[in-house]
């Protein structure tokens, strides 16, 4: 039985026009990500990784090329259909969590289900509770977002991304606002979720966090310059140990 393709792009191009100047943010991206993968996308700023994430996340459309997400030809969809695809197939995780302030963890996690039009989640509260249990926040469900630490807030955001059981979890610099220890915890949580079968695409510029993934794609100037399986994956224990090492200052 062939493995299901979650993402398949063919000759994906994204050109930004700013008056006379054309910027090729992405050039001929061919990429296949299968179910159950954990991919880290790396690259310097300006390499096009954010643009790629926006296109994969159906927030933006490619100028040319094809993109299939979980069997749906995304580049043929209208605005509302794109919103529905985002709602049903993608779980977003942002660098700055983007939780609603003065709102409980539970309500935050329920948020994607409010916009569900398929009617497949009648028990949204239960689902939200379950998602929070998965990220280890069972005892914090009625805490408001501003009463939680950064790491806990990001966990709420991850629960929010999990709640509608999407085909793809898309994380944009998920550890960018966290300290090293919390970052490692979050990366480890991704590994656990991936072990349970979740497909995860994570953008990061921290190599030690990228090392937790199974596969690494490196972008430069809008093109994929390397795409390889990570052979020595990092683990929580290893990463924590690395933290203890004295930093060599010149």
């Amino acid at each position: 039985m062939p493995v299901k393709k979650v993402i398949e792009t063919k000759k994906l191009n994204r050109i930004f026009k700013n008056g006379e100047i054309e910027v090729h943010a992405l050039t001929d991206i061919d990429m296949i990500i299968e179910e159950g993968e954990f991919v880290a996308i790396m690259g310097a700023s300006g390499s096009g990784k954010s643009t790629l994430l926006h296109i994969i996340g159906c927030l933006d459309r490619a100028t040319s090329g094809e993109y299939d997400l979980d069997g749906v030809q995304v580049n043929k969809l209208g605005k509302n259909q794109l919103a529905d695809v985002r709602n049903q197939k993608i779980g977003f995780i942002f660098q700055s969590y983007n939780l609603l302030s003065r709102t409980t963890a539970l309500e935050n996690v329920e948020l994607p289900l409010i916009y569900d039009r398929t009617g497949q989640f009648p028990n949204s509260k239960e689902l939200a509770q379950k998602a929070l249990e998965q990220v280890g926040l069972a005892d914090r469900i009625y805490h408001k977002s501003n009463e939680l630490s950064g790491g806990q807030q990001q966990r709420v955001a991850i629960a929010r991304a999990l709640v509608n059981n999407p085909a793809l979890i898309l994380a944009d610099e998920p550890t960018g606002n966290l300290d090293s220890k919390a970052s490692i915890d979050i990366a480890d949580l991704f590994v656990q979720l991936n072990n349970k079968g979740k497909t995860i695409v994570m953008i990061t510029h921290e190599p030690e966090i990228a090392q937790f993934a199974k596969r690494m794609i490196y972008l430069r100037d809008g093109q994929i310059i390397s795409d390889k399986v990570i052979e020595k994956r990092s683990t929580k224990a290893f990463a924590l140990k690395e933290l203890e090492k004295p930093v060599e200052t010149p």
Binding site: N80, F94, N98, R160
Partner: protein, 404 residues
Amino acid sequence: MKRFLKIFKVAFLSIYKNRTRSLLTMLGIIIGVGAVIMTISAGEGATLEVENQISGLGTNLLMIQTKSEHKAGINVRMGRPIDEKDFEMLKKNSVWMPQLSPLVAIGAQAIGPSGYKSTMVYGVSYDYFYITSRALQTGSFFTEDDVRTAKKYCVIGQTIREELFPGEDPIGHQIRIDKVPFTVLGLLTEEGSGGMQDMDDIILAPYTTIQNRLYGHQRGYTMILGSALSEDHIADAEMEASELLRESHKIIDGDEDDFEIMTQIELQEITGNITGILTILLGAVASISLIVGGIGIMNIMLVSVTERTREIGTRLAIGARESDILTQFLIEAIVLSLVGGILGIVFGIIGNQIIYKVTGFFIPTVGYSILIGFGFSALVGVAFGYFPARKAAKLNPIDALRYE
């Protein structure tokens, strides 16, 4: 529908979580709706008051006077004055007006044993008391004979008694009206309604006496008052009087009347028009405050959209459609203005009560003013909420997510 309820809940929570701001936003609407209700009700109250006073003038009343024309802001009497000949002719020939009385009005100073007052003195006949249905508290009216023989008798209103005879019984005492002594025969009952013209600030005396003693230099009457047989016959009485007067004044067909007949119904219509215009005017002024309140809502909603750009970006990213965002913000604006509207209604009703307590001027809170206030506030919510809501819905999710 279920989704709409969810979005409604989202909108409601958002208002609740920004309680202070929401309340301040509503303030404009609260004051606006309150003002609309209070002004419309005040206009209505004034109409009621005036109507009361007009119906207090008498029953089935007709007023016949010399034609006057507005010239440069003052009434100028045209034509010949209405006089004794007209009165006698009408009294003899009129079928539809069983009661008729001349009215000779002068402003004069009345001096009593304990005080004095500038007032209106009306010279009338005995019929006047029937026509205006005024009653006595004590004493008696002057009689037909008193009128014929021009006795120096008078009947006074309550205000006059208070000024001239504080704490005393005025019956049988003398007062001086512009130096002429009159004996007080009767005291009128209180007319009750205060307001524009004090119906108790009045002295009634035989018109013959007034004409002879106080009014000698002028010919004719101020007007002739008549009372139609019944309310249904006011028009008949008017037509009849008009025909009789044209005939006796020898006015040829086609020429204009040299007199004017005003009925109580016409008087009511005229004053009704005036107070109606007043109400509309006041309401319009109050509506402006509602519009200002609406702009306040729009302003806050626009700020709120900017402030919550990232929230909107997040909602769009996790699958909200543009229409969901539009609905949410529109509901927020409408709920704000409707809640403001309801509070404004309460404010208006309480305001009316306070005005009543303080000034004694009764303002009925009229139902349609509540409807107007409420409807207007809903309209304001939609009209001024739509623009910010659309702005929110049209945000590009990528930019919105990046917004700092």
